[in-house]
Amino acid sequence: MAWVDTILQGILLGGLYALFATGLSLIFGVMRLVNLAHGDFSILAAFIAVVAVETLDLNPLLALIVVAPVMAGAGYALQRLVLNRLLGRGVLPAVLVTFGLSIVIQNALLEIFSADSHRLNPGGIETASLPLGGGLAVGWFPLLTFAVAVLLLVTLQLVIRRSAIGRAFRAASDDGPTAALMGIDTGRLYAVAMALSLAIVAVAGIFLGIRTTFAFSSGPDRLLFAFEAVIIGGLGSLWGTLVGGVILGIAQTTGARISPGWGVLSGHLVFLAVLLLRPSGLFATSRRIH
């Protein structure tokens, strides 16, 4: 039964990783950009939530109403003022600029919030659990996280498939310059994609902050887990991203069960094994989103 429990916890942890991975996957799909500061933005969002909770006396889950728009605005501005100006200069400038941002965000958080660990307290739900019988129980909060991840993926899929902006995303994903010729304002479109990505990352950051403690330096790990979920699942497949997150989650909880220090390492090793045996991921369709 203990093993069933481990797998179950792993699946639910995978929901959290899928939340991180979705934003990363979206902007890579739309504009072939890998945002190396992705994880640090999630930690930034969690810290903004800490401030919102303290000053407005909000529940952290309600703080999302404040934090998500703030992060979306930051994403829009970042894309318009910085990243759009690097388009057409190859991948190197965007990689180095987002890496620079990652280090700047980490050190700014260190200066403002010190090196202490923080945690968001939603008032009880984080410890409540649902008994499944046979000694098994799942936490309400991991369940909620998983449900939110699925809901976000379904919504995003619908937006991409059915809406006008989704059509524009797909067009830009296929061929940015041609989409621009057809009258799509790609600069604005990329900014909307980045805003969406950082709003999703805000959700991920707050759920992370409720689930576990975080500090200024927690960002890079989040980026790596998100990246690994995307690669395991296969590029261009949003559902693959969820499966990738679940596989990574199971690998980590299983590893941690064998030996406490092996959790994160097992996740990395499963990722490397998938890379070696099936470089295009388990569910790869194409590099485009669809």
Binding site: G100, I103, N107, L224, S259, L265, H268, L272, L275
Partner: protein
């Protein structure tokens, strides 16, 4: 009309004289300066070599690695294992530590070379984390607490410091000479062709994969030697410090601020880095925020970096790695 291919510059000849003068100054440091100055010079050289190695990767081979801290850590731990556990002379272990890093890099390339472009950056980062976690879970390597280099304890302190300093200067000179000579060679010409256009260089007979692999392994060697040098100087190693992303951050910021894809850029950038850090020593981690901001600004507005501004203004090239065609009665043609 005879046309000559010029491979030296006047700035290069001046630079050679200045280089010899600088070496004389470096040789005098142990006699006129204190141990603190020697440590600062060692640290500067270590950062400079890291910068040169990363510049070779990102600036010339187009391999934007964010995982070079893997080789700093591997080099440092290899030094401790070779000297303390296997009884190799600690100073001799420094180049051997580079070899360990190079062998592991060759194996690692089987994984990370499956990634291209931005994915290569995150992939190398993930692999560096794997190395850190493997070391941190190994009882023989001291787990999370790390190890202390004990092999040098019997030596008098002054001897140890002096030899470490001499090794640092030798490593610095060797690294710059090696990169310079490599870029001037046939293979270096191939590498610069790969940087400018992969398909074009491939069609002219350059083996792109082999060229990149050579650079990746060579950079790991240089970075591993530097890692060993850093921990020969510090004596105390732990996985979180040795495999810290900070090594790559210092390096990337120095190279981007100084000028990517030139030999002079990393030197200028490392100088700026160390000077700013010393000036802001009392202000916590603000220097990293400032340097990161400068690097972002440089990447946006001045992608050629500080040295690029110098070249644009005065056309100075200290390290003549390019071939320039000069006809007797016409102006020199700048390289494309």
């Amino acid at each position: 009309m005879t046309v000559a291919v010029e491979r030296t510059t006047r700035a290069g000849r001046v630079g050679a004289v200045a280089g010899v003068a600088l070496l004389a100054v470096l040789a005098a440091v142990p006699w006129v300066g204190d141990a603190g100055l020697m440590r600062l010079v060692i640290e500067f050289i270590a950062l400079l070599v890291l910068a040169q190695m990363w510049n070779l990767l990102a600036g010339y081979a187009g391999l934007v690695s964010i995982g070079q801290q893997a080789w700093v850590g591997v080099g440092g731990y290899a030094l401790v294992v070779l000297a303390d556990d296997l009884g190799v002379n600690a100073f001799l272990a420094v180049p051997l530590a580079g070899l360990v890093a190079a062998v592991l890099a060759l194996a690692t390339s089987a994984l990370v070379f499956r990634f291209r472009d931005a994915y290569f950056a995150v992939g190398t980062w993930a692999v560096a984390e794997v190395y850190r976690l493997l070391v941190a879970s190994s009882p023989a390597l001291g787990r999370g607490t790390g190890r202390t280099l004990k092999a040098v304890f019997p030596l008098p302190r002054q001897t140890r410091e002096l030899v470490t300093y001499a090794i640092a200067v030798a490593v610095g000179v060797a690294a710059i000479a090696a990169v310079y000579l490599y870029l001037r060679s046939r293979r270096g010409l191939g590498l610069m062709a790969v940087r400018d256009s992969e398909p074009a260089s491939e069609s002219l007979g350059v083996d792109v994969y082999r060229t990149k692999l050579t650079v990746y392994v060579a950079a790991a060697f240089g970075t591993g030697v530097t890692g060993a040098l850093i921990y020969l100087n510090l004596l105390r190693i732990s996985p979180d410090a040795a495999f810290s992303i900070s090594w790559t951050a210092y390096t990337v910021f120095s190279v981007v601020i100084g000028g990517l894809g030139t030999l002079e850029g990393p030197i200028v950038g490392t100088l700026v880095f160390v000077v700013l850090r010393e000036l802001l020593a009392d202000y916590g981690s603000w220097y990293m925020i400032l340097l990161g901001g400068l690097a972002v600004l440089a990447m946006m507005r001045y992608p050629q970096g500080l040295w690029g501004l110098v070249v644009a203004r005065w056309d100075i090239r200290v390290f003549a790695v390019q071939r320039r065609v000069r006809a007797p009665d016409t102006a020199p043609t700048p390289p494309p």
